[in-house]
Structures are given as C-alpha cells and as structure tokens.
Symmetry: C2
Subunit: 348 residues, 2 copies
C-alpha cells in the first residue's frame, strides 16, 4: 500500500492511469471479465466479481470515458454556447439546463464567447464540433443566426434559445412579446396616457421583441409613441435614462426592458424627488428575486427561466434519441405580469 496517497512516491512515478488490463492482472482474470463487472453484466460468478471489485478499489480504477465514448459513439454531454453568464437570465437558464441534463445522465459543457464577433462565434461552433459533446444548445441573445452569416455545423443536434431562427432551427424562447404587451397594457389600463420605454442593447433579440411589442400596443391603442431610450441592461444605463425622463413633465409611466434598468430608474427618480409610483409608474422585466425588495417593490414581468432550460434539454434529448435533425419551429414559454407597488394610476 505504499503507492497510495497522491504525491510523489519516491523512486516511482505513479502510473498515470489505471486501465482495465491492470485490474484484470491484479485480480487474475481477463479484462473482459473486468468489463462485465464494471458494467454490471451477468455471467460473472460472485466470488470472481468480488475479487475484481477488490482489485478496482485497490488500484483506484476509473473507467476511461474516452474509450467508452469511442466505443459507444456518444459522450453523454451537451454543449452550451453562450455570450455571458453574468446576466440573471442566462445563468438561471444554464442552471436549469445543467440540472435537467444531469437528471437524464448528461453533463453540460460550457463554451463562452467573450466578444460576440462573427469570427468568435464561428470559432466556437467549429470547436464545438470537435468537442466531446453529443448536441449543442445555443443561447444566442444577438442577431447572428437569422442573418444567415453564421451557420451551425450540419449534422449536429442543435437547440437555440432566444432567436429568430425558428424557420431553420429548433428554438425555445420566452414569450417576450406577450410579456411586454402585458406590461404596457397594465400601465394603460391604470389610466396612463402613454408609456415610455428603456430598451435593452440594440443587438439583443429579447430587447428588440420587447420594444416592438411596446410600440405595437401603443399604436393599437392610438396613443403617442415617445422616443425610446436606449439602455444596455445595466442599472447604470437605467439610471442615465431615469435622469432624462425625470424632466419631461408628461412622463408618468416607464416600461424598462429589464429589472436592473428599472432599479436604475428608481434611483434616478428618487434622487430627483419624484415619487414612484405616485409621480411615475415603473415596470420591469425578468422578475429577478431582488425585484420584490426594491424600493418600492417592483411590478415586473415574470420569466420562467427554469422552464426554458427544461424544454431545451427535452428537445435536445429528443433529437439525440431520434437520431435526426431537430424540427424547425419555436417553442414559446409564457410570461406573466407580477403587480407590486411600483405602478399606480397617474396623479390627478
């Protein structure tokens, strides 16, 4: 037992990796028998099995997943390509993906793209093709797939989150448009004449959808459409927008494209002495856990990130098991408005 315990047995480098053959030799059987024991197959008498297990323990044997994958042709791993984990939505979606994948016996491999240039995206897709994954989930966020400039490698099982590419890929998305409609209608129903909007980044799908729906609801209702204020999801950009919106006296309601920007709005209005909701109503989007503890608690659109992740895993496993490419089409996860204390009828 001198060998055990990790670092540097003097005079002898620890063997890099214990193979089945090593176990077989120690147990005095063939490697075939070891394989059977390892995979719980029948045809090994109890005493032999016990011997083999003992040898495995003694040597600290772990099956080589490369060889196994080579044999079986699959890795039990799903790749996830994304731009950033730092947004609440992404990290929660990824967490749900990881959890549901684990429940099905799959691990997930993360491929981050730090700067979303076309080269980087293509590079990630290429690398992904070479990676030890059976399928890929792409969390897009931005406009690349639907422009056709970026192509996912053919013959790879793919599910895309948050994209317009539903005509070519299997897509799962939150029902952004409906969520935004609920938000804007809620404000109009309260009696506001119109609703201002702080957008997400211009390249963002989700942001675009929310802005489109905002505009559409106002137009359908025959209300004036104020100019959109451009944000970048950060609280800071919401704060900047809030400082602008604090001036026009006719701004009584704002729909922010996410909760963090709404937080920035709240602070800006507070600094300028405007009361939320009595002077200005604010609605956010996402329903991050903190939103209920903003001052005042934020009315916002709840997104079910966990469900998005869940459906991604379902779809991708379906593709793997069916063996074919994914059916194009978009699967929409519903949203719902959560009314808290940041919205009220306009004063007067």
């Amino acid at each position: 037992m001198v060998e055990r315990g990790g670092s540097g047995v003097p005079g002898g480098r620890r063997k890099q990796r214990v193979s089945m053959a090593d176990v077989a030799k120690l147990a005095g059987v063939s490697s075939q028998t070891v394989s059977r024991v390892s995979n719980g197959h029948s045809g090994v008498v109890a005493s032999t099995r016990e011997q083999v297990l003992a040898a495995m323990r003694e040597l600290g044997y772990r099956p080589n997943s490369a060889a196994r994958a080579l044999r079986y042709g699959q890795f039990n791993t799903i790749g996830v390509i994304l731009f950033s984990l730092s947004s609440t939505g992404n990290s929660r979606t990824v967490e749900a993906i990881a959890t549901h994948a684990a429940a099905e016996g799959y691990a997930i491999t993360l491929i981050p793209i730090d700067v979303p240039t076309q080269d980087n995206v293509l590079g990630a897709f290429t690398r992904m093709g070479e990676l030890a994954v059976d399928a890929v989930i792409v969390i897009m966020e931005i406009h690349l797939l639907d422009t056709g400039t970026v192509q996912l490698p053919p013959g790879v099982h793919v599910v895309v989150v948050d994209s317009d590419a539903g005509d070519r890929y299997s897509v799962v998305d939150t029902d952004q448009a409906d969520g935004a409609r609920q938000a804007v209608r809620h404000l109009l129903d309260l009696g506001h004449r119109t609703v201002w909007h702080v957008t997400g980044p211009q390249a963002s799908f989700a942001g675009q959808r929310r802005a489109q729906a905002w505009r559409a609801v106002l137009q359908e209702a025959g209300r004036p459409v104020p100019p959109a204020l451009y944000g970048d999801w950060s609280a800071e950009s919401g704060y900047a927008a809030g400082l602008v919106l604090a001036d026009p006296p006719d701004c009584t309601a704002v729909f922010a494209a996410n909760d963090q920007m709404a937080l920035g709005l709240l602070r800006a209005f507070h600094e300028r002495g405007l009361s939320v909701p009595y002077d200005v109503s604010v609605v956010g989007f996402d329903d991050i856990p903190d939103a209920a503890f903003f001052v005042p608690p934020l009315t916002t659109v709840h997104q079910d990130f966990a469900e998005v992740g869940h459906r991604c895993v379902q779809k991708v496993l379906q593709q793997i098991r069916a063996g074919g490419g994914g059916q194009p089409g978009t699967d929409l996860v519903p949203t719902r408005l959560v009314v808290r204390d940041s919205t009220a009828p306009p004063r007067g």
Copy 2:
C-alpha cells in the same frame, strides 16, 4: 452522392459519423495525410492539402474527440462541481473560469448538485471521475470537505474554491475575513458604538468566516457583541432581519454578509421610516453591479470573482502540466471596501 443532405434521405440512413478514412477515400489519399492536414502539420504539399480540405467540406468531417482523447490521454476539459449558479458569486466565478479556460484551449463541464446531501456530493465526485475531464474545480460553499466525510477521488487534479480544506487540497478563496474586518472597522471608525450582523446560511464557509471576523473585530475593540441575525443570502431574509433591527433604538450600524440581504435591510428600514445612513448605516458584501444603484448606493466589500476564477484555472492547469497532485495550501484573493452613501457617522 445519394447519402448527403441531412435529414432522412429516403431508403438510406445517413452515416452516423464521418471518419478520417472516409475523407481519405474521397480525397484519394491515406488517412494519415488527412490527419496531417487536420492538425495543420507540415509535410503535405499544397495541392494535396487542398484536395483533402475539399473532401472534408464535402463530407462535413469533424474529428472525433473521443478517439483523439483516447490517443492523447486527455480531453482538454475541466470539470466544475457546484451547488448553484444562481448566486452572483458563483456565476461570475464560473464565467471567469470558463473564459480563462477557453483561452488556454480548455472547455469546462458543469456538474450541478441540486441538493447538497453527502450522497449527492459523493455521487457527483464519482461521476466526475468517469467523466471526460482532465481535472476538477470544486466550488464548495459548504462544510463537507473539511469534515473528512467527503473525499475527492485520489489521483484527480483538484482545486477547491471557498473551503477550509487548505491543509489537504489546493484552495483558492476570497479573503473573506479581511473583507469583513474592513467593513466592521469602517463602521467603528465612523463612530458607531457597535455593529450588528446579518449572517449567511449557517453551513456556508464564506458566511462563517465573515461572522467570525465581525465578532473578532468587535471583541478586539472592546465593544459589545450583539446577537447575530441569521439570514440565508436572500433579500427576503435581509428584509426580515431589518424589521427586527428597526426596533432596538441602539442599532445604528449593520453589516450584512451579502449585498442582497443589505437590499432587504434597506427596504425594511425605509418602510419603518428609518433613514439610511442617518439613522442606520448599512454595509454589504460582494459589490454586485446593482449595489451602486440601490437607494442609497451601498457601501460594500468588493470581491474579485474574476480573479478567483482566473487563479483556479491557473492552478489547475499547473497541476495538469506538472502531472502531480496539487500542493495543498490556500491562495487568498484580496477584497476592498467600496464606500458609497449607505454609511455615515451616527446621529448626535
């Protein structure tokens, strides 16, 4: 060429996977030459190379990473075991790990543990051993490794984040204690007689360290140590603590173990008509991006999650390259206090 073209050519199932041999056949060369082209090795004349590349494109060839891993004995993948991605700290650390790993040519595989029972942790470690990873980073958060009940498999390269197991494993951690000391001293320096504390979950390492340091600073300064209020990182638990703290008239300063609980405190104090910072000073921990936009902007301890992730990758790659086990020891990433508007001298 009937075989090509993705989904369901009638009558013929598409070949599962294109091998080097297939490419070689189409290009009229040996598979060895294909290998050379694939890896950018020299010794292939331009015309041949072009032919091979054409054949690769035509067939949609992607190298089989299982075979490659089998050959090389490594996967270029690092496993990350964690409990949750939903905390800011974890997701930012993981993002940094993924980014730095990618820069070194490694992908990362996520193994989530939904409920941190001992069985689940052991199971994850076992599975990790069989997984296609070259090393493992464990983001522990809770007390399991140092109790000795859970053992990481020997012979696996491991780096642990946030743990007391520095005597046995290679550990990277934020300097929790120093951060907490800075926070408490800042409040004492402002003239507060003592400082109350809202803790993290009791099982959390980080939480324990911060609470210990809080207590130690008060004792060293000869100040009374108020009873700790137990939170669970959530804004809700901070809110609950805030409602309690709003009553004792001698509470003029609170140190919350993270920013979200601080957010809950701010709301509770606001509801009770207490002004922050004039009636009560509040300090948080983490410096999440939103903290600067709380009302009022939060004084808090900045954690460098990116640096933690970076060092994890460095250490783990070092282990892989050196081939040995990791040197036990703890690598501390410094913290710094960021003073904003939620702290002030006590009234009167």
